[in-house]
């Protein structure tokens, strides 16, 4: 949920996450935009495959890793851009 009182956000844009469209505003991070849109689940943990999402928002915990153009980036440190294609992408252990 956005707090819009007395605030003007950046330009509205559309980006995708795992192929689905999401509306956001320039200045927002990918992690927060998805969180706000009811999509906190960004990836699965490598060993047990459990759902994970943003946690520290400081670029420390590494829980919000997503894939953009084959590169692993932190969603909380990545600003939304119009047309950005984001995918979750955790690599799993073979031997569980």
């Amino acid at each position: 949920m956005r707090i819009d009182k007395n605030l003007k956000r950046g330009q509205q844009i559309v980006f995708t996450f795992n192929g689905e469209n999401y509306l956001a505003y320039e200045g927002e991070s990918v992690a927060c935009a998805l969180f706000c849109a009811g999509m906190p689940h960004l990836r699965n943990s490598p060993h047990l495959g459990s759902p994970r999402g943003m946690f520290c928002l400081m670029g420390s915990c590494q829980e919000c890793v997503v894939t953009i153009q084959n590169r692993k980036v932190l969603a909380c440190q990545t600003p939304v851009v119009n047309g950005l294609q984001v995918n979750s992408g955790t690599e799993r252990d073979d031997n569980d």
Partner: protein, 370 residues
């Protein structure tokens, strides 16, 4: 902590890396009452932090037969030791990207074939079939089926289990201060475990063998190499073989859990006196550039951890395994250069020697280095 009733150990092994642990294990299995002593914890130095490469490509040619035996031991550790290190069998490729490297490749393969390694030379096309992710600039490769990797940091836990099963007495965090002779026995003075008495002593201290030999007034220089290692986060499968480059400066493998380990002997800063190591950024970058060049898909991988380990090297880059020159019933085992690969077998043969049996393969006389 002398065996409280003044019991004497048949052998005390000083240094609990893979060589020392394997020696202690095999001595105990042969019926001896064994103590193993380390100033730290089991297998936490080189044996716990190396790249875990179980390869013949980078083993010295004349050590190939030893490495083959050791490879079998790693692969079957659950059986003989009782616990394993996730040793995984994978083919090993050594690669050439320049004409000079091609020449080195052929030479190295030939030298190892002479000692029993089955190494085939592959064209680039054949190499791409085995390893599709390779840089298209590859000229030639050498392939050996007997290759693979272990997870080094599991080694201490595995040997702890095995040694306990053989009733070896383990003295960790017990630095040895001095060794005296008392009534024909060795009296080993430790910092935290009191004095131990033993009929025989084995020096298995890796890079610290030089100061250990000095306890007996024997002087053999041991060079300390400071190796850098890098591991990535888990990534999708981008390689299936264990890779090296003909010039010997890259080791590359991907574990079952998806992490990729990058090594090859790039040096950092450190010394054996204070164990403080530090990576040299330019050498990290060089190592990573090689890795990314060989498997371009690694570009997207993020590095998760960097660490360093100390590796021992003698003047002729061959092991010292045998009797300590001029000292009765004192033995030394170590400095095998790529010692992790052959470690379990080296421990076995020195144990055979100490037990009075004929070692399965010849030892490496320390006296040659005096």
């Amino acid at each position: 902590m002398i065996s409280a009733d003044g019991n004497v150990f048949d052998t005390a092994v000083i240094g609990a890396g893979v060589m020392g642990c394997s020696t202690a294990f095999h001595l105990a299995q042969g019926g001896m009452k064994v103590a193993i002593i380390d100033r730290g914890l089991l297998c936490r130095e080189a044996s716990g932090v190396n790249a875990g490469t179980l390869t013949l490509h980078m083993t010295r040619a004349s050590l190939v037969p030893y490495a083959i035996e050791a490879w079998k031991m790693w692969m079957s550790a659950e059986q003989w030791l009782g616990a394993g290190v996730l040793a995984t069998h994978a083919p090993g490729l050594t690669l050439a990207f320049t004409e000079q490297e091609c020449t080195m490749l052929e030479e190295r393969a030939a030298a190892r074939r002479e000692f029993g390694a089955k190494i085939d030379i592959l064209t680039a096309a054949q190499a791409f079939k085995k390893e599709p992710g390779l840089n298209s600039k590859l000229l030639k490769a050498a392939c050996c089926d007997i290759d693979g990797f272990a997870t080094a940091y599991l080694t201490g836990r595995a040997f702890r289990y095995g040694l306990c099963r053989q009733s070896v007495e383990i003295f960790e965090k017990s630095p040895v201060v001095a060794i005296d002779r008392r009534n024909g026995l060795f009296e080993i003075v430790t910092q935290n475990a009191g004095k131990l008495l033993a009929r025989r002593v084995v020096l298995a201290g890796g890079v610290w063998i030089e100061p250990m030999l000095a306890w007996f007034g024997v002087h053999i220089p041991i060079k300390t190499l400071v190796n850098q290692l890098i591991v990535t986060e888990r990534i999708r499968p981008v390689m299936r073989t264990v890779m090296s480059i003909a010039n010997g400066l890259l080791s590359l493998k991907q574990f079952g859990n998806g992490t990729v380990l990058i090594g090859g002997g790039w040096q950092g800063i450190g010394n054996r006196e204070n164990n403080e190591t530090e990576a040299i950024p330019e050498n990290l970058i060089g190592n990573l550039r090689l890795a990314r060049f060989v498997i371009p898909d690694l570009s997207e991988a993020r590095i998760a951890r960097i660490w360093l380990g100390l590796e021992a090297e003698t003047a002729d880059a061959m092991p010292i395994i045998g009797d300590v020159p001029g000292v009765d019933r004192a033995y030394v085992v170590g400095s095998a250069h790529s010692g992790y690969t052959s470690g379990p077998f080296m421990g076995k043969i020195i144990a055979q020697h100490i037990l009075g049996l004929q070692p399965s393969m010849p030892l490496f006389n320390p006296a040659r280095l005096l």
